[in-house]
């Protein structure tokens, strides 16, 4: 296999070194004792065993304390990143093509777990009204825009803020790590997004809390978005409301060719317009540079 998960070399090496150290310590402890006396042999081995355990335990606790920042400030989100999500990414549209590459016909709702209330709103979709109201960007809000064929430009705005620019609709999403608090005010198309690296969620003391559900994680980027201005999940007017909340998981995988892919799994919950969480996955391929980057204005019709 030539594929590899994208751990930075430093973390990978640190883990490898730790494993090698444990291996050598464990092997030495199990080496045969030259003493011919069985009782001495047993006693000596027992002492060596507990001593080894104690040493290993102390080292691991010390290692964890270091990793969790007990000895200093917790690492910044940028420093703690398990993979590099920055760069240019292009949507590769191999799924839901008829709903993403062209504006779908009125009333085509296949796949979306709508409520009756949702259907009433969607059946009344009128792009001219949206244009008249200055709401051409209703399908470019956070819960809809990631399904629009687009390019992403992702970069660190600062050590704890990740910025995602999207050329379709010329939108910007901002992912805040740490203990960021929303300033409040009016809801926006992109809402407020709070992010953390899975498995690296930290409490106020900087200590790791792990996954709140106690369930395993792939180790990606988790983003929770709220405070959204109501918009469309699909270009033909399938709505999400102002109380919608979205959780996203971003993973980066390297394929055998060496290509990097950004895999986004998104879960939209909306008590008014969705009868169950709306779960889709979307993929983007990394590009070398800005050659295809083409910011365009929002369109209510295309």
């Amino acid at each position: 296999m030539t594929t590899s998960r994208l751990y930075p070399q430093s973390r990978h090496s640190e883990r490898q070194s730790r494993n090698l150290f444990f291996h050598s310590l464990f092997s030495k402890a199990l080496e045969a004792d030259p003493s011919p006396h069985p009782r001495y042999d047993q006693c000596s081995a027992r002492k060596r065993g507990w001593l080894s355990i104690a040493i290993v335990g102390m080292l691991m606790v010390a290692g964890q304390a270091h990793a969790q920042g007990r000895g200093g400030p917790p690492p910044t989100a940028k420093a703690a990143a398990p993979f590099d999500v920055t760069g240019y990414w292009v949507a590769v549209v191999t799924e839901d093509w008829h709903y993403r590459m062209v504006t779908p016909r009125v009333g085509d709702y296949l796949g979306i777990p709508m409520t009756l209330e949702s259907k009433k709103v969607a059946d009344a979709w009128d792009p001219a009204k949206d244009e008249a109201a200055g709401e051409q960007c209703k399908s470019y809000g956070a819960a809809g825009i990631m399904r629009i064929p687009a390019r992403l430009r992702i970069a660190w705005q600062d050590d704890n803020t990740l910025k995602m620019e999207i050329d379709a609709g010329t939108q910007t999403r901002v992912f805040h790590f740490g203990d960021w608090k929303s300033p409040g005010g009016e809801a926006t198309w992109q809402g407020d997004s709070v992010a953390h690296w899975e498995g690296r969620r930290t409490g106020l003391d900087g200590r790791g809390l792990g996954d709140p559900r106690g369930q395993p994680q792939a180790g990606g980027l988790e983003v929770a978005t709220t405070h959204l201005k109501a918009g469309y999940l699909r270009k033909n007017g399938v709505p999400y409301g102002a109380n919608a909340a979205m959780t996203e998981y971003y993973d980066v995988v390297r394929e055998r060719s060496g290509d990097l892919w950004l895999v986004l799994t998104s879960v939209v919950r909306d008590p008014l317009y969705l009868s169950e969480p709306y779960i889709v996955s979307t993929h983007y391929k990394q590009e070398a540079g800005a050659a295809g980057w083409d910011p365009t204005a929002c369109s209510a019709r295309w």
Partner: protein
């Protein structure tokens, strides 16, 4: 005894203190969340619809020659469900692992089959893939490794089959690379299908599943070859330029013909610009339109 105690204690310490060494649990019944590609996965795609498929000229010609009646030929009755049907079809999947009875090491991960789709065995014990000229099986041959908390599987030795349920082909030279990404109770499966014979670029698909307590069967009923009336020795097909369904999608959904024929460029955002001035919104959807659901969440609930 001392060694056993020491090993146990060390194991506990390692498990508690070094999460990077742990592998993610993938066992269980994972229900499909069919919120994307609904038509493709349930009713089936239009008979000629290669949008978003990177078919090369050979692949397109082969696809256009396809007649659904081919599946009535006895030797092809069970051909339709290759391993990538996992991301083409509407069904959930059941996963479990098989371990060495002495060491406890995982020898293989298993994905249960479903009717015509054979079960998949992902060998984790480092065995090599068979030689190039070894026989190809319906399930192919798959090996896997953990990369961090992600299971990565690689499949070779597949039989020739279809990448879309309308006869768009994939050859027996195709390979699959899969990533199993677990986030809590959600499993995202990526599949890159690379086919040097019929594609100009790999096909990349991702699908989501959700862990559920209702068991999914580890195996469905077997595919049984039967006589469905196709004349022996005949292969139903369309000759070049004789496929009667070529313009169906253009008539019904106003998709431009060059998009219907597929090709790598139809996968990228730039292609929208080419279509913009040619596309007009079709009439309101009249049937198979979806809408509010009244059945149970997820799975096979049809809207």
């Amino acid at each position: 005894m001392t060694r056993t105690r020491m090993a146990s204690a060390l194991g506990i310490l390692l498990a508690a203190g070094a999460p990077g060494l742990a592998q993610v649990e993938l066992s269980g019944s994972w229900a499909a969340r069919n919120h994307e590609d609904f038509q493709d996965r349930f009713q089936g795609p239009n008979l000629v619809d290669y949008t978003g498929l990177p078919l090369n000229e050979g692949g397109r010609a082969r696809a256009l020659s396809y007649s659904q009646s081919q599946l009535s030929a006895p030797e092809r009755v069970c051909l339709f469900y290759p391993p990538y049907y996992l991301v083409m079809g509407p069904f959930g999947l059941k996963m479990w692992n098989e371990t060495d009875p002495v060491t406890g090491d995982v020898i293989a991960w298993k994905i249960g089959g479903w009717e015509d789709r054979p079960p998949t065995t992902i060998w984790m014990d480092g065995r090599p893939h068979p030689p190039k000229d070894a026989p190809h099986e319906k399930a192919g041959f798959t090996t896997g490794v953990w990369e961090g908390n992600v299971l990565v599987a690689y499949t070779t030795h597949l039989k020739a089959s279809y990448i879309r349920r309308n006869g768009a082909p994939a050859s027996d030279e195709a390979t699959i690379t899969s990533h199993f990404l677990r986030h809590g109770d959600i499993l995202t499966l990526t599949m890159l299908v690379d086919d040097p014979i019929y594609f100009s670029e790999p096909v990349y698909r991702t699908r989501t599943f959700q862990l559920e307590s209702t068991a999914i069967a580890a195996m469905g009923p077997p595919c049984i070859q039967a006589d469905e009336g196709t004349k022996e020795g005949a292969v139903p097909h369309y000759l070049p330029s004789k496929n009667p369904f070529v313009d169906e999608l253009t008539k019904t959904l106003h998709i431009p013909p060059e998009a219907v024929m597929g090709g790598a460029e139809t996968m990228y955002p730039e292609f929208r610009k080419k279509m913009k001035d040619k596309y007009t919104l079709p009439d309101k959807c009249a049937r198979n339109c979806g809408g509010p659901r009244f059945g149970p969440p997820g799975g096979l609930a049809v809207n």
